[in-house]
């Protein structure tokens, strides 16, 4: 497997997917580090998995549901719901204006 080298554009793109903004120093650092990790994980391409089913979960458990019942004990009062932010107004969470037309 050829060595994979991520470009600065790649790093910025991936960061954007993860909603991260990076400074130039970080871009350089992550470019080097992530390239070496990706180089390592590329080793999987050697494995023949044609007839193998993927495991996204491991215990084989299926069909776990809850009944359609309201449990008010779990509901948080408004002040508790908002307790961990300072950015709020009139019982609502507040963020910078999101553009709308």
């Amino acid at each position: 497997m050829a060595k994979k080298h991520l470009t600065s554009e790649d790093i910025i793109h991936i960061a954007k997917l993860g909603n991260l903004t990076l400074n130039d120093k970080e871009v350089e650092m992550f470019k080097k580090q992530l390239s070496s990790v990706i180089d390592y994980i590329d080793k999987l391409q050697e494995v023949d998995t044609k007839k193998i089913e993927p495991s996204s979960q491991i215990t084989g458990l299926t069909d776990v549901f809850r009944e359609d019942k309201v449990n008010e004990e779990r509901t948080l009062p408004q002040d508790k719901a908002l307790a961990n932010t300072k950015s709020k107004a009139n019982g609502l969470f507040k963020v910078k204006a999101i553009l709308t037309e």
Binding site: I14, V37, I41, K43, V47, R66
Partner: protein
Amino acid sequence: MDLLELTIKDTIEALKDKTFSCLELTKETFSNIKKNDKKINAFLTLDEENALKQAKEYDDLIKEDAQIFDKKPLLGVPVAVKDLFTTEGIRTTAGSKIIGDYIPPFNSTVIKKLLAAGAIITGKTNQDAWGHGSSGENTDYEPTKNPYDLTRVPGGSSSGSGAAVAYGASLVGTGTDTGSSVRLPAGFCNLVGLKPTYGRVSRYGIIAMASSFDTIGHMTKTVYDNAKVLEVTAGVDPYDSTTVPEKVGSYTKVLGQSIKGLKIGLPKEYFVEGLDKKIDESIRNSLQVFEKLGATIQEISLPYTDYAMAAYYILVPSEVSSNLSRFDGVRYGKAREVFGAEAKRRIMLGSYTLSSGYYDAYYLKAAKVRTLIKQDFEKAFEKVDVIVAPTSPTLPFKIGEKTDDPLAMYLSDIFLCPVNLAGIPGLSIQSGFVDDLPVGMQLMGPQFSEELLYKTAYLFEKETEYYKIHPKFKNG
């Protein structure tokens, strides 16, 4: 009382016999913490006021009700809680600065169960932020030090919980184990550390690292103590859809049962270059103890071992990138710039392995390799009952030794993460000491074989009694 020596078993006896009270134990514990934690950095938050209040109430209960220890099996037991565990009203940071001020409005299921069983929370422990790490150095706070040698790491990511139990600052340290995070600190701090079967203990309220890997375990000084805690924490939780409705075992009741005829497998892929020779030797000496106890040893093969780390470092970051998406600074915490370097690395790596055009080559491929690794273990368990391997390829390493090389750090988990890929239980116990540093040994069994692992470990521990060796704060 000598906190370094004290176990849960001793404590319950002493409380019953009134050798000391809950309050005395709690006060002594906090005075130890105040004296020593500056050196160790095991705790991020202490909860002394509540702990003392609780202790007084329990002393009253003991006076009133002779049967109280049956109802509350961990009455008065001080527990150090990893900071990924959501604790109502107690700051929960995940070892990160991004939620450095977060006060949860609810308790995780395990905390509820521990409190109902009478445990007393001493505080919240330091860790690699979000569970991302093997040394404790990825904390956004001051790194925890190994009580056996203060220049070395205690193992991570449950670094504070491990160190706390080791220096007598609590009798139980709760932890989470996604790839190594309970077993490695147990191995590095001369403790017993359980990574239970996936789905055995509820994840509800534990800040998620990689949801299909995360297991909720704990560290104690002895096997008995460890089994006793699992009796409290295990079981189905209607709040966690992935808990399995398998009967909870009588983990303490099987202790002492013979292991004559037990077939132990030694995976040849784990005894290769890169494994410290002295550790190799220590494990082989321990195998003689098992043989003496009536077990037979045979070499086995787990052929896909070599691919486990690669699969792990695709699937885990994929889930991490998803699980850390909720930290947007809107409802709690700070903005995403505040993430530490390791969290950023994993978010980016996971965003990449899930992204359009790469999903099949990475996520899906790794999920298939995961199946192969699971099958490796299933085939092995057709031949043997338990698999034994070193917990770590190296001794506790020096602080700073691997911080600039993420890949080298990732490889510390090489013997541990296959267990998380397969969802099986792993129990790290002590194999002995090398250069005055603890050497961990891992027992692995099929899904839901915790009873067997405890039974096996218990007899070994009775023969060896490494838990009687205590840390001396070397280089402190």
